[in-house]
Amino acid sequence: MYTPQKDDFNFIAERNLDVDENFASQGYWKGVAVHFLRNKFAVTGVILVSIIIFFALFAPVVSSYNYDEIVSVTNSSGKEFIAKSLGPQIGASESQDFFADRTFLFGTDDMGRDLWTRTWQGARVSLIIAFVAILIDMIVGTSYGLISGYFGGLVDNALQRFIEIAGSIPTLVIISILAIFMEKGIGLVIASLLLTEWIGMSKIARAECLKLKEREYVLASRTLGAGNFHIIFKQILPNAIGPIITQVMFSIPVAIFTEAFLSFVGVGIVLPQCSIGSLIEAGFNNITILPYQILPPISVLALLMLGFNLIGDGFREALAPKLEDM
């Protein structure tokens, strides 16, 4: 039952008739954003990831310790004590002798470094690795897939056979070969991500390209004299970007996981640098004596994975209406 409102009795001429409020045209991305923001899980994911990124950005800067600083005090007789393996504590505690006035929110590790600072520094390193690697993967994989799908025929056949062979080398084998060639460290982790993750990306880009290249606007563009690369990157790419972004969102947790895995095995980040994986490894080595050490990096890892997976799911659902009408 419609109840008339005061607004209904105004002169219609006083309204702005140029704006149709009932059937306002809605941009594609606005629709996606509305769908995405309505999804409670996706918003939770965004909040989780934002909180972790916020801490990863600012906590190491604001902290009173450096991530590789070994905290120590000198007592009255000039003897130096290192804050080894302290439990979590907040200032003015009575039980400790030397470090009673210091604050270690997550405690310190077995070398006397502040775990709060190290955890967020580690999160920062892991996130940087994931973003850099996945960004390059996106650029390489998308270009490869689009070119393969667009030109078709012999080019497509050759490029796809190459992918078939490259894709059937297990990640583990690629990593082990790289581990022989390269120094352990960030470079090795990024390189192994670069060599493995672009394949999935290119498959999706190719599938999208095959769908889109038959469209009228591509034909129109070609009729107007546009070159192949203009069509691929100016006409097809903007319309294929949705599924690619979804794939990126699912690749980031894979990258974070791979980094953690490599550092845990011992071919990733080297001391005194730290990452989520190397912190988990350090925590694991001391687990029977100092079980609290492993909790912060594990929680950050799990929350990051959860957050990115929720965002990815949200994206996929928000883009689904478009996928269906294809």
Binding site: I165, S176, I180, F257, V267, I287, I294, L301
Partner: protein, 314 residues
Amino acid sequence: MTKYITKRIFMSALTLFIIIFVLFVLIRIMPGDPFSVERMSAEMILQKREELGLNKPILVQFVDYLSLLASGSFGNGTSLYNGAPIKPILTTCLMNSFKIGVLSILFGTAVGLTIGIVAALNRGKFLDGLCTLVSILGVCIPSYVFMIFLQYTFAYKIPFFPYFFDPSKFLTSAVMPAMSLSLFAISTIARFTRNEMLEVLNSDYVKLAEAKGLYGFELIRKHVLRNALIPIVTVIAPLVVDLLTGAMVIEKIYGINGVGKLMVDAIAGQGVDYNYVLALGIVFSALYIGAMLVLDILYGIIDPRIRLTAKEGF
């Protein structure tokens, strides 16, 4: 069908051959020399290189290695096990990893299917939420973190299972690694099963079966499960690969003498053992390609559309 299978087998064999070639060449052109030791005189180095066939052209070395492989040997290790033959060590390790891998795949598939089916049948209710939670946990928590947790709780705090892997007590000591390895499989299979089941439950032929008076367990077994389970074969292939990666860390944590641990020792230990890396790379690739081949063929048998489209293409 025969044509499809022949084509797949040919492609797999070609892929494996290319991989072996690339691995071999990469490892041979590696900078560094096993004999750059100060104690060795120039003649000794020359003699040693001659003895190991390192002076021949690289392609000849490759053919030699292929004939070695064909005779079922992987040659000798360099440093890791003091130059002993690789094959017996590799076989023992493979068997250990294989047993645990099979256990975890079986466990994971059984539990994952159950969870997925229960969730789909109770859609939107409490049980569905619980199942979703389990599958989310499986995706977010890496298997080795779960393994650390299990080891700390059920082997250290409550000493119920052995703290390290013990081959003489295989059953009790395989429980924890198999469980943690299957975590990812459980969550993937559960999620997939639930979606497939829901799709089939909403389909017209299930509605028709219901309209004809079929209900309960009969309906689920005859009409829903049969059609929902076909696509699940596809998710098991990537799981086998994840298993290899997961096993690498879990074997390190739990002290299992498996291929994963062998690989970690070969690349992250004191010196890199080229021959082990080569042998393990070949074994891993062969396993992976083999698993893909079997699943492709299985899928072709189950779903006629695949082999029909494959006939037209390449």
